[in-house]
């Protein structure tokens, strides 16, 4: 009993039309890393926002150290010793690290602090309540916090300049600032909401080392995640949520990955995907020596040749920023090439508008699903019909038949298992969690029976259940004769799904191979520019080589 730090009992939180938490229990022991596992939209973040005072629960009790807590605002949670590192960092880029950490704590200037005042007549005045109230508002002492933050940073090996503005820090450093914010407030319990979503594998490894040290120092940690690997490698116990319900809490050591996946998704999850052989048809995409620039006008794609045929999946590997985004956008018709030609099903499309690409049977799943994949403020219905609204089934050329559009959208939502939608006209795209939004986008793109599907990072940041679903659908389309161009940073995914593999490096295709002919190690080497690229790309046009030589020293990204 005494080693239970936190007990959340029977928490219920409903939003209009959705039960986000349905009688959820969560007990966290002192000094453990406790995983909170669930798919996107399972209610993990809601539960933690309840614990952090951002949401008020409809029912249930929260006890910390046996004392019941009433959390109306984040300040209450902070006062109780609960800190949270949000998935989207709560930092103000303009302010310095120190300012971000002390924000809200109202540290008065040094001359008003009790230990500096000494004795005497004025001392009593300076420590009196009204003077302190004024000093805490109209002065600001950063020297002492700065020393303390520096000490904390050194203690955990964070290499951070505490006087630097946060906008100058990289993502990993920003996350460490978030942790410092919590440590500065002497928290007993630290909540991390999907902390590795924004980190590289190396940074994630560092984060976990930090967490181990925090726990050694007596802290308790709640780790929200949908990555089974993280749960297995760092947590002591794990609580699983599914569709708002509490599935149970288990010792991580006692269960395997498959068991956890079953708890999380509610059925067995296939980690291996079966890929039947199909016959490859005519080319649907033929791009020859296309070049393209990014939004700032810097060339990112240099004379790439590419062919995708009906019924095959062509996977493109590469370290982020090597021109994959530009290649995807160019062949999907949303970015104009600066040179070269693009043919879709034999028709020259280099100058064509995005609209003509859509008409020609090209579907596109963009990398940033919030920014480019949907109109967040519009309803699920509008988003579902966004590319097909001119179709005859949705009314004549003047008037829209919202009845049939609604039915169409509802059908897509059902077919693609998009969760969190109670009404396709009431819910807007921004209401959906990442995985469900991705399913909706995929539904929109696949329902059009495309001849070419360009999918950029279709499974990034979504949970295992949704990943499996998306992959199955991609292969299903391939079997039905769609040519799929798949961009992914996940090599397992590329090896599982692709019929052919391409590797991009600095705007060029440096390797063309098949999953059978190569291995991940070889691919990693090529992705980092370590391959003998001139030899392995015999079909690269010679002008690309000269262009590379011409701006060889370029260091842009």
């Amino acid at each position: 009993m005494t080693d239970d730090l936190l007990r959340m009992e029977s928490i219920v939180k409903t939003f209009p039309g959705v039960i986000a938490n349905d009688h959820v229990d969560l007990t966290v022991r002192r000094g453990e890393i406790h995983g909170l596992l669930g798919e996107n939209g399972a209610g993990k973040s809601t539960l933690m926002k309840v614990l952090y005072g951002l949401y008020t629960p409809d029912e249930g009790t929260i006890r910390l150290d046996g004392t019941p807590l009433r959390l109306d605002k984040p300040q209450d949670a902070m006062d109780a010793g609960i800190g949270m590192v949000h998935q989207h960092f709560k930092l103000i880029p303009r302010l310095t690290v120190t300012e971000n950490v002390v924000l809200g704590s109202r540290e008065p200037a040094a001359s008003f602090r009790k230990e500096n005042v000494g004795d005497g007549l004025l001392a009593g005045l300076r420590t009196s309540a009204p003077v302190q109230a004024v000093a805490s508002r109209f002065s600001l002492g950063l020297d002492r916090p700065k020393r303390r933050i520096r000490t904390l940073a050194d203690q955990y090996g964070f290499n951070i300049d505490v006087s630097a503005p946060v906008r100058e820090l990289d993502v990993g450093q920003r996350q460490r600032v978030e942790i410092l914010k919590a440590l500065y407030r002497d928290v007993d319990l630290l909540i991390l909401d999907e902390p590795t979503a924004v980190l590289t594998p190396v940074e994630a490894e560092r984060l976990f080392e930090t967490l181990e040290r925090l726990v050694d120092d007596g802290l308790s940690v709640i780790l929200i995640t949908h990555k089974l690997k993280e749960v297995e490698s760092v947590t002591d116990r794990v609580t699983v949520l599914r569709e708002g319900a509490d599935i149970g809490t288990v010792d991580t050591a006692d269960v395997g990955r498959a068991e956890l996946a079953r708890m999380m998704v509610g059925r067995d999850v296939l980690f291996e995907i079966e890929k039947p052989n199909t016959t490859v048809g005519d080319p649907v995409l033929e791009a020859s020596s296309i070049s393209a620039a990014d939004d700032r006008g810097i060339e990112k794609l240099s004379g790439v040749n590419l062919e995708v045929s009906a019924g095959e999946v062509v996977g493109v590997a590469g370290v982020s920023g090597n021109g994959q985004t530009q290649l995807a956008e160019t062949v999907a018709g949303v970015r104009d090439p600066t040179a070269g030609t693009i043919e879709i099903r034999g028709r020259e499309m280099s100058e064509a508008s995005p609209d003509e690409f859509i008409e020609q049977g090209v579907s596109f799943v963009p990398e940033d699903r919030h920014e480019n994949g949907c109109a967040g403020g519009l309803s699920v219905m509008h988003n579902a019909a966004m590319k097909d609204f001119r179709d005859d089934q949705f009314g004549d050329s003047v008037l829209f038949d919202y009845g049939s559009v609604g039915e169409y959208a509802s059908r897509l939502v059902d077919d693609f298992d998009v969760r969190g939608v109670s009404d396709v006209t009431d819910n807007c795209a921004d209401d959906l969690s990442g995985g469900n939004l991705q399913k909706l986008i995929l539904a929109r793109e696949l329902a059009r029976d495309p001849d070419l599907l360009v999918a950029n990072q279709p499974t990034r940041g979504i949970d295992v259940g949704a990943i499996e679903f998306v992959r199955e659908r991609l292969l299903e389309r391939r079997d039905q004769g769609t040519g799929v161009l798949l961009f992914s940073e996940n090599l397992d995914e590329l090896f599982d799904l692709s019929d052919r593999l391409l590797v991009m490096y600095e705007g060029e295709i440096v390797l063309r191979t098949t999953p059978e002919e190569t291995n991940k190690k070889r691919l990693s080497v090529e992705m980092n520019g370590g391959g003998s690229k001139r030899v392995s790309v015999p079909d690269d046009p010679p002008e690309a080589a000269t262009r590379r030589a011409a701006d060889g020293g370029r260091s842009d990204r």
Binding site: L54, P74, H86, K90, I92, P93, R94, V102, R106, L140
Partner: protein, 332 residues
């Protein structure tokens, strides 16, 4: 020498004319740093100016008039705060509405006060050290001799700078203007901070108005603000939301404003026997025409805004990130 006295007079007029802009601009700056755009400054200046005159005539004290004018500006900004912060109405529409309202109210109630006589703020020097400071050549008589409100405005530049950069309150005001959601998670009452900033802004806009009628013109005339509230809004952008630069900007605008008033005695036309006279004199006369000259501050505003946008393209971060964004907690 007449040239020196002209320049001295011009500098003096520039400093006097800038005070309205300094006061109103500082108010707007604080409000915008907290994320609330206030386009009602013009209306608040007008209301502050008229109520200041009325209170001065009734009580006989220009200090009471100044206080009443400031409070009336604050009351108007309370409407803006309630609409934009509590009701989350569109900030631009609410502000423009308040300017139109202020213009209407002061036009209607101002008629009978247009000829009112009263004793406004006299020119004076600072106590104790004022006698010494005023001896400084050029700067002395222009900056250190004037109505008390000039000194109040100069002092407020320092106070506002101190508030925003050296106090917890300032840090919190900036944080709600940058990212209200983050401020909220750090335990800062976003609504309270924004109300505070908007009310301070209104108070200063009202003070600008009261200074205008009680110290600068010494009389109430219809539409006395003549667009200076709008210039104050532009000035904040020009100043990149920094109080020190705001003072420089206010002097620049004050210069063009006083040029108009002072240049009428100035004859820059060339002598008739000069070969260029026929060509240039019509141009000079056109440029010195009082009606044309009264447009200079506004033309400068446009030019400066364009220049600010062109030059500071990489400095977009100067603008508060959450400007014009309403905040509600469960919206995420």
């Amino acid at each position: 020498m007449t040239d020196t006295s002209f320049l001295l007079g011009l500098a003096d007029a520039m400093v006097s004319a800038s005070t309205v802009l300094v006061l109103a601009g500082l108010g707007e700056l604080i409000s915008e740093r907290a994320g609330v755009l206030n386009l009602g400054v013009e209306g608040m200046i007008l209301v502050g100016a008229l109520s200041g005159v009325i209170a001065t005539v009734v009580t006989g004290s220009y200090w009471i008039g100044f206080a009443v004018g400031s409070v009336c500006g604050l009351l108007m900004s309370a409407v803006h705060a309630f609409l934009c912060i509590s009701l989350k109405a569109d900030q631009a529409i609410s502000g423009i509405m308040l300017t139109l309202l202020g213009t209407g109210i002061t036009t209607y109630f101002g008629q009978q006060w247009a000829s009112a006589q009263f004793a406004g703020f006299p020119d004076r020097t600072l106590p104790v050290i004022g006698g010494l400071l005023v001896e400084i050549p050029i700067v002395g008589p222009t900056v250190f001799e004037g109505p008390a409100t000039d000194f109040v405005a100069l002092g407020l530049v320092v106070v506002v700078w101190w508030l925003l950069t050296r106090t917890n309150l300032g840090l919190e005001i900036i944080s709600v203007g940058e990212d209200p959601e983050t401020a909220d998670t750090m335990g800062i009452d976003v609504f309270k901070m924004r109300y505070l900033a908007v009310l301070i802004g209104g108070l200063l806009a009202g003070a600008a108005g009261a200074h205008l009628s009680l110290a600068f013109t010494g009389i109430w005339t219809n539409n006395i603000a003549a667009g200076q509230g709008w210039i104050a809004v532009a000035l904040v952008i020009f100043a990149r939301w920094r109080p020190g630069r705001l003072l420089v900007g206010a002097y620049l605008f004050g210069l063009f404003n006083s040029l108009r008033l002072r240049s009428q005695g100035l004859d820059l036309t060339l002598a008739p026997e000069s070969p260029l006279a026929a060509l240039l004199n019509p141009v000079v006369e056109f440029l010195l025409n009082p009606a044309i000259m009264s447009m200079y501050p506004y033309i400068v505003t446009l030019v400066v805004l364009v220049a600010t946008v062109v030059w500071s393209r990489d400095d977009d971060s100067a603008q508060p990130a959450a400007l014009v964004q309403a905040y509600s907690r469960e919206a995420d």
